[in-house]
């Protein structure tokens, strides 16, 4: 391989004791290092990075942190309902997204669907949906549907749909096509062949992907309330704007507990599946 870099910095030729000679390409590190340093410098300028402020006022951070770590659990009774709302939104959203994702991912996988056009359009759609931050989706949903849990559920469903679809079509493309082709050769239609030959291979991965998506969703759904899309973010945003960090601490620790329980359950189920 001869590229521009090798021309600029010619590789070193080393003659070994046995008479053979090997070439050692010049290291790319100096150039990469210099580029990264320049980028860091530019970014520091652009973001007005200022260490002196950090040193002078850095203790403010720990003031807040100390308050968060003294949670006031008498406030917990106001947190349970929104916390469960968040979990319920995540479950319904992840379920709806997951159900829609299965047929869509089949359409997107290039070994089942032979139509290149359709694949590219579907994948572009998925990429765009996946790129939009969940908060922006939630904001759009609250504008179209009213404020409340339904808007949040729609945002979660769309986000999960794009994530599960992508993971599934990548998985389907790696599958063994032998059984599928055999069934097609025996005269089965493509849909019938897919259901009988591919589904048993797809199902365990699909279910564990769906469980995984519930797991990650609970974490990310906790902020949706901030734009009015229901759930624990509503209380969180309210307490944050009132600067009642003791209550924020309560909410965060309860969320931590919920996330821990859900992750443990889902990990147990995924282990069973595989």
């Amino acid at each position: 391989m001869k590229n521009a870099y090798d021309v600029l910095f010619p590789p070193q030729t080393v003659t070994l004791a046995n008479g053979h000679s090997v070439t050692k390409r010049a290291s790319r590190m100096p150039v990469i290092f210099a580029t990264v340093l320049i980028l860091i410098f530019l970014s520091l300028r652009l973001t007005q990075f200022n260490v002196s402020i950090l040193v002078k006022r850095g203790n403010q951070f720990f003031v807040v942190l100390a308050q968060i770590f003294q949670p006031d659990f008498s406030y917990a009774k106001y947190v349970w309902v929104p916390l469960f709302n968040t979990i319920q939104m995540s479950i319904v959203g992840a379920f709806a997204g997951g159900v829609l994702a299965l047929p869509f991912s089949v359409v997107c996988s290039s070994n089942i669907n032979t139509n290149k056009m359709v694949i590219n359009i579907c994948r572009l759609l998925l990429s765009i949906l996946r790129t939009l931050p969940t908060l922006v989706l939630a904001l759009i949903a609250t504008l179209i549907f009213n404020l409340g849990t339904f808007a949040g559920t729609v945002a979660i469903a769309i986000f999960n749909f794009s994530m599960v679809s992508k993971m599934m079509y990548e998985h389907i493309e790696t599958l063994d096509m032998g059984a599928y082709e055999a069934m097609e050769a025996l005269g089965a239609t493509r849909i019938r062949a897919f259901i009988s030959a591919m589904m048993p291979q797809v199902m365990p991965v699909y279910l564990s992907t769906c469980l995984y998506s519930v797991e990650t969703t609970v974490r990310s759904a906790s902020v949706l309330g901030y734009v009015g899309a229901g759930g624990i973010g509503l209380v969180l945003g309210e307490r944050l704007s009132l600067r009642e960090y003791y209550h924020v601490g309560t909410i965060i620790f309860m969320l931590l507990g919920a996330v821990f329980v859900i992750e443990t359950v889902s990990r147990y189920c995924r282990k069973k599946l595989s």
Partner: protein
């Protein structure tokens, strides 16, 4: 022949009881969850909103999209990228020693478990809470965004890098020792090459995530493309929203493509 096939079919384990139980469980869970979702109908302006967004995406405000001023999309994207980039770099620097402290094969058990709890705590805080905390220090602006991204990167990077450290192949060290290498040479030629590419790969992966997160941090006033996006949305300026969203999507897709290429290269070795 048919008998044989039938016998094989009967031999198959019968899972229908567990499957039925799981199905009933899922339906019950969905029923319980569904009770919390209240559909309040499409808002009065809902259809108009949906059309407005679509219209904005098709007819973006080209003045904002290509203007090179501080309010233009290119500058905002550059700012978002700078926030994500610096956050990733600082996060990686902080996470590197922490990863060694977290790795099971390097530290004693108590330290390992303490670090696991710390990492989980860092990861549980939604990043916009960090944003609000840092804004108290720095005031609103991109600087707060950088600090937020740095801290929220530390959790995931520590976890993933610790896994890399745990997977180190000790055989390489032994053979280097047998060849007569000194301790320093063992680290330089035995450990660093094993860690380097995975650390960089994790860093690039985190950069992708940070880029997406940095775009919503504007919500709390921590700089980037998020603030004008939400501001324009709330005042229903769909053409401006359209151009900002297009900028955002193009930025994320482009950098995702580049970083996937680099990570594939890293995984294969140069």
């Amino acid at each position: 022949m048919e008998d044989k096939i039938n016998r094989m079919l009967e031999k198959q384990p019968q899972h229908w009881k567990t499957q039925l139980a799981v199905l009933i469980g899922i339906i019950a869970l969905l029923g319980w969850s569904g009770s919390a979702i209240e559909f309040r109908g499409i808002s009065a302006r809902g259809p108009a909103m949906a059309l407005g967004i679509l219209n904005g995406l098709i007819h973006p405000d080209t003045e904002i999209l290509f203007s090179l001023t501080v309010d233009g999309v290119p500058y905002l994207i550059l700012e978002t990228l700078a926030i994500a980039f610096l956050g990733t770099i600082i996060g990686t620097i902080i996470a590197a020693p922490l990863a060694f402290l977290t790795a099971r094969n390097v530290t004693p058990k108590p330290v390992h478990y303490t670090m696991l709890v710390v990492v989980m705590l860092i990861r549980t805080f939604p990043s916009f809470i960090y944003g609000l905390m840092f804004i108290r220090i720095t005031g609103p602006g991109a600087f707060a965004g950088v600090l937020t991204m740095s801290l929220s990167s530390v959790g995931m990077l520590t976890k993933r890098n610790a896994e890399v450290v745990e997977d180190i192949d000790r055989g390489v060290l032994e053979s280097l020792g047998a060849a007569g290498c000194t301790g320093f040479q063992k680290i330089r030629y035995g450990i660093l090459p094993q860690l380097y590419s995975n650390f960089v790969s994790n860093m690039i992966y985190r950069f992708d995530i940070n880029m997406k997160n940095a775009s919503v941090l504007g919500l709390v006033g921590a700089g980037g493309i998020g603030a004008p996006l939400i501001f324009n949305m709330n005042s229903y300026r769909w053409n401006a929203v359209g151009s900002l969203l297009i900028g955002l999507v193009v930025m994320v897709l482009l950098f995702e493509y580049i970083s996937t290429r680099i990570r594939i290269k890293l995984a294969r070795g140069f």
